[in-house]
Assembly symmetry: C2
Homo-oligomer: 231 residues x 2
């Protein structure tokens, strides 16, 4: 192997496992220099803290995280960029699965978890183009641009909307299969306009109007729906 390839191997080629750790650390908030504990990572990834420690050392040596023993890890700038590129791939593949292959939004995650590790810059650029540069994935999560920029949305949780305000449903906070299936069953979909009619003090449930119909939803549901407020 040439010197050049040794360089590439050490600094750019990432294993699937390394990529999964970076993604998890990012999602746990370790991008803002916040330090994430090994325990938190282990719990999220359903692995053991000792395994996380090992990987933390490895990622630290590669310059992808800052790691201080007993203090946890945070992503470096390179680490954030790398995490964003994996998240970009994951979300673009999710859009592909829904738009081109008729997957439902509760089916895409598992397959995208595999597809996100495919290595080909051209593949992802062309996929982006085929999908006409989508800004959000099927759950409403923003798709980072090629150079790692997010467009943050002016959105809030439905549970935080004042009475009589209304907005468009733009995303879900919880994208677990049961929650998504629940939304389907109740005909709650992204794009729907929702108006908050009333709040019940007792259990924080909401009475809402959606597509002309009235319904009652629990606080737990409302706290997992993002709404873009119509001013």
């Amino acid at each position: 192997m040439s010197n050049k390839n040794v360089f590439l191997k050490k600094y750019f080629l990432m294993t699937r496992s390394e990529e999964n750790y970076l993604k998890t650390i990012f999602h746990l908030g370790g991008g803002d220099a916040k330090s994430i504990t090994t325990n938190a990572i282990a719990e999220q990834m359903e692995t053991k803290p000792s395994s996380v420690t090992d990987m933390a050392k490895k990622l630290s040596e590669k310059g992808l995280v800052d790691y201080v023993r007993y203090q946890g890890v945070s992503l470096t700038d390179v680490g954030v960029k790398t995490a964003l590129s994996i998240i970009r791939k994951h979300r673009l593949w999710e859009v592909f699965l829904v738009k081109k292959l008729d997957f439902t939004w509760d089916e895409v995650h598992e397959v995208a978890e595999q597809l996100e590790h495919i290595k080909s810059e051209k593949l992802i650029d062309k996929l982006d183009e085929l999908l006409e540069f989508p800004k959000h994935d099927p759950h409403g999560d923003p798709i980072p641009t090629k150079d790692g920029k997010f467009q943050e949305r002016d959105e809030k949780l439905l549970s935080e909307m004042p009475i009589n305000s209304q907005g468009v449903c733009v995303g879900v906070k919880d994208s677990s299969v049961p929650f998504l299936k629940f939304l389907d069953k109740n005909k709650i979909a992204l794009g729907n306009t929702i108006k908050v009619l009333d709040k019940e003090d007792f259990d924080n449930s909401l009475r809402i109007q959606m597509d002309g119909k009235e319904m009652r939803i629990s606080h737990q549901i409302a706290a997992n729906l993002y709404v873009k407020k119509n001013d």
Copy 2:
């Protein structure tokens, strides 16, 4: 882990490495009960014979190959079916890359080598549908059906065509990047009609007519182009 999953793990979940071995054995001809030597597999996969021996034992335990020490391996029926499903995935992804993402035929192999290992039956069925059930990949190789059937074509090598016969170019035997680039440069593409005008005894080169133009091609080129003969 439940008993059911133990069963699934042992008999159906294949590692990437196992899948690559099965594919190689199939391509070396080990599907017709022919026994393939460990050396041949090692050479093809650029690995060591001792590694092949280890994997042969593993695949044999899983019932995917028949393995006799010092005699080589051949695929069982299950092994053939599994190999075909991987080849099916590889070739469908190649078609996708060319038809939907504008890849050239010399760029697809490397990416398809990764994509072929994605596990999702629905994904591949839907991809097949999106591509309108293609029968051949961009190099003219047949795509096995879902139930593992090939449609063999009535094709022969251009080098074996008699003088004055003509046919349509339907595939390449060698699908290496240099050969494909050479064909592009010389405007030789699948679908072109080729007529054999003359053969040179000295070096076995051919004088051909293609799209009205005459050209001379070496034996090595002609021996790597499949032609469907017009009767």
